[in-house]
């Protein structure tokens, strides 16, 4: 059922905007639209977005430290009150500040450590030099240079000495061997030229009153201090990460606040207003909720205009509502549509899914495995539920076709597909005919409701009669009736098919419609052969798995060792093979069942085109906002 909507305009005093919007978010009754002319958003939107980002960063950082025990059984989300949630505040939360501060500090420390290590590394070749750096200076009569000479030229150092230089050689490092060259002023040019020819590169050591060894020790101490601080900070972050739940709550609060501040509203000097949609049956509740905040508010509600498209909310019973996911993936119903396709579609989807799987054992696996998964993870997703419910129809069809994990443990109730493939094909196409007829019947209903009774009779009913008549021709007993039905419906289609056309189209239109009906419906019905193909492919692969497992299973001749190996590998092949086959079959059934609904069934009557009803409500990820029923006064 498509829930009717009312267009709501809420007027109230400007100063009461925040409490009112909070009340709307708390009750989750109204979807606020942002098409209002001259609409604006709350000034605090930027702030709340920044807060959300900050908490998000802190949460991510703390998550890296938190030691959460992963339990296979998902816990229920904590339930909190809306007012409690909104009372949280990021602005004065020390944990967030501290965590972000620690994160920044850790980054700085890491960079410092890198640069200290670089400096220390550069000093290593000079460690043997017992002169402090500031003493290395040119004097009146001598020039001195420090630098590196590539290791391969070490043997040629006497060349520099021949030119008159004195060379002090220290340890080697990455850039080469550290050397200090001293030369008399008069010979310095020749000496340094000789050095340059050996690939000497000069480095300017820092003019500091330390020796290399002293400086190196200092740097090491510094690095140790930073590492110590880093360890302390990490320990603190780990302690803080125990408050991760507090952060999660904050994050939910900030997301909820962002939602609230994103609401677009328009205002005059004293009054503000918002526009949106509400379920027609909840207008009273909305008015009551508004009254609770202020008396100075006016809720205007009216039916949608012709040019307005309200959002779509479908309401069906617990089982059918799961199948809404299939329709929504195609397209949501337009609220102005006459029918909600979900009930009929859901039943067919359920039936056809079971036929495509067609094995009682696999159906049992779907119920047990998916049911167990639902219990453990508290997952209540619609697609998961669809597979769970379809498990029952799979068991049903499995019993009908006598297939249990690919074996025929019990005789089939109807028939075994592999024994009589043609009849099984007939059953599949028969299901297809019924499915298509129900689609055409839906179209008839829509035509009647929308005041086109002639379309319903001349277009829809005749095609049903024509297909029925043609099918009767296959049966000896019904042949004569079938002939009459076919001839009448063909005649009606040819005579009336062109009724909306002009001129010669009135005459030829009928033939065109007849061709479309025959070719279109014929192709549609044949498309249901895929049910048989999927049923067989699942059954045959299951059979192969059984044969493979049977081949390695121990027999009378196997020894003790052979028994163990055979039994274990047989069981492994059996389990893995069947689970693999189950998953593949589920995928195929999901895809092809959906296709049959979208093309063959929806093609007859349904277009969709609606958009979802998303009322303003808390946006939480980690906690559930509890709907606290307040006592009626």
């Amino acid at each position: 059922m498509i829930v009717p909507m009312k267009k709501i305009t809420l007027y109230a005093m400007k100063r009461e905007r925040k409490p009112l919007l909070r009340q709307l978010q708390k009750t989750g009754l109204m979807m606020i639209i942002d098409e209002t002319e001259g609409a604006k958003r709350d000034d605090n939107l930027k702030h709340s977005e920044a807060d959300r980002a900050r908490v998000g960063e802190a949460l991510k950082f703390a998550g890296g430290f938190a030691q959460i025990k992963k339990s296979p059984i998902a816990a229920e989300k904590d339930k909190v009150d809306y007012d409690f949630l909104m009372a949280q505040s990021t602005a004065d939360n020390e944990t967030v500040d501290r965590l972000l501060w620690i994160r920044e500090k850790l980054q700085i420390n890491e960079q410092n450590l890198i640069s200290i290590n670089e400096k220390a590394d550069a000093l290593t070749p000079w460690l043997d030099m017992n002169v402090s750096f500031d003493e290395i200076e040119d004097t009146k009569l001598s020039k001195v240079k420090t630098g590196y000479i590539p290791e391969r030229h070490m043997s040629k150092i006497p060349e520099i000495e021949q030119a008159g230089g004195v060379v002090g050689v220290y340890s080697s490092g990455k850039p080469g061997v550290a050397v200090m060259i001293v030369a008399h002023c008069s010979e310095s040019n020749a000496v340094f030229e000789a050095a340059q020819q050996l690939g000497f590169t000069e480095v300017h050591l820092p003019k500091e009153p330390f020796t290399a060894a002293e400086r190196h020790r200092e740097l090491t101490l510094e690095a140790e201090e930073i590492s110590k601080e880093t360890d302390e900070l990490k320990a603190e972050a780990e302690t803080l990460s125990k408050k991760i739940e507090e952060l999660q709550l904050l994050h939910d609060r900030e997301s909820t606040r962002v939602k609230l501040n994103e609401v677009s509203f328009a205002e005059t000097d004293n009054v503000f207003y918002v526009e949106g949609w509400t379920r027609a049956d909840k207008v009273d509740e909305l008015e009551k909720a508004v009254k609770k905040v202020t008396d100075l508010a006016y809720v205007e509600s009216r039916d949608p205009n012709d040019d307005e498209k309200p959002p779509t909310l479908t309401e069906n019973n617990k089982i059918i509502s799961q199948f809404e996911a299939i329709t929504d993936m195609f397209s949501r119903p337009d609220p102005r549509d006459v029918v909600d396709p979900n009930t009929v579609m859901g039943i067919w989807y359920w039936i056809i899914f079971g036929m495509m799987m067609g094995d009682a054992g696999y159906g049992l696996m779907m119920i047990v495995l998916v049911g167990g998964f639902k219990l453990l993870t508290k997952n209540n997703g619609k697609l998961v539920n669809i597979i769970f419910y379809s498990g029952f129809s799979t068991v049903f069809w499995g019993i009908m076709f006598g297939s249990y994990f690919g074996e025929s443990l019990f005789p089939a109730v109807i028939l075994s597909p592999l024994d009589d493939i043609m009849t099984t094909l007939g059953i599949c196409l028969g299901i297809g005919v019924l499915h298509i007829f129900s689609g055409i019947a839906m179209k008839m209903y829509i035509d009647f409701k929308e005041g086109r009774p002639w379309d319903a009779i001349l277009d829809q009913l005749t095609s049903i009669v024509l297909v029925t008549g043609l099918l009767m021709l296959f049966s000896e007993k019904l042949k004569s009736v079938g002939k009459i039905l076919s001839i009448i419906s063909v005649a009606v289609i040819i005579l009336t098919g062109g009724r909306t056309k002009k001129g010669i189209g009135k005459f030829t239109g009928g033939f065109l419609v007849l061709y479309n009906v025959l070719a279109g419906l014929g192709g549609d019905i044949l498309s249901y052969a895929r049910i048989l193909a999927l049923m067989l492919s699942g059954g045959i692969v299951a059979m192969v798995m059984n044969i493979l497992a049977g081949m390695v299973m121990p027999n009378a001749n196997s020894g003790v060792f052979g028994w163990i190996i055979g039994l274990i590998s047989g069981i492994l092949i059996y389990i893995i093979g069947h689970v693999f086959n189950l998953v593949l079959n589920l995928l195929s059934a999901y895809v092809h069942d959906s296709r049959l609904q979208y093309l063959e069934f929806f093609g007859k009557f349904y277009e969709g085109g609606g958009y979802a009803f998303k009322p303003l409500s808390p946006d939480t990820k980690y906690v559930a906002v509890e709907e606290k029923k307040e006592a009626e006064q």
């Binding site: 067989l536 492919s537 045959i540 195929s588 296709r595």
Partner: protein
């Protein structure tokens, strides 16, 4: 005798799994490359995209089913093991061909639609079901080919 009925059945069964398998492997590979590209930027779409990648893989299974069916129905697997005549062999061989060739070709084309659907899903995650439907359209012909093969095999 070099060419016997049994050998022909073997060749048919061998080609069905091999060619349909090659088609599917190639198809899954094309779709997989598209999927990996999308997932590098939107890893959260994995659940939707992996379905699209798996779709061109079914032809290989259809080929395999054809192989098993032809081996069972010709009596080679689990049968009496009597020698088939050459003409019987040709019948089974021809019966394998729809699923073999249809599967081989359709898997490749289906993969191209699957890649396109994967890119579409990357841009509009909410339209993934439409992408799946478009991709499944190509599979129709692989299913029809498989059905024809099955019907031919059982009618011999």
């Amino acid at each position: 005798m070099f060419l016997s009925g049994t050998i022909l059945v073997f060749i048919g069964a061998f080609l069905a799994t091999l060619l349909a398998g090659i088609g599917s492997a190639y198809g899954v590979h094309i779709a997989g490359k598209a999927a990996a590209g999308v997932l590098s930027e939107q890893p959260e779409l994995f659940g939707k995209i992996v379905i699209l990648q798996a779709l061109p893989g079914t032809q290989g299974i259809y080929g395999f089913i054809t192989s098993v069916l032809v081996l069972v129905f010709s009596g080679i697997l689990g049968g009496g093991g009597e020698e088939l005549t050459i003409s019987q062999g040709w019948w089974y061989f021809v019966a394998c061909m729809p699923a073999t060739i249809g599967g081989f070709v359709s898997a490749v084309y289906q993969a191209k639609v699957a890649s396109a659907a994967i890119y579409m899903t990357a841009k509009q995650p909410e339209s993934s079901a439409r992408g799946i439907t478009l991709t499944a359209m190509v599979e129709t012909y692989a299913i029809l080919a498989l059905l024809t093969s099955i019907l031919l095999i059982i009618s011999i």
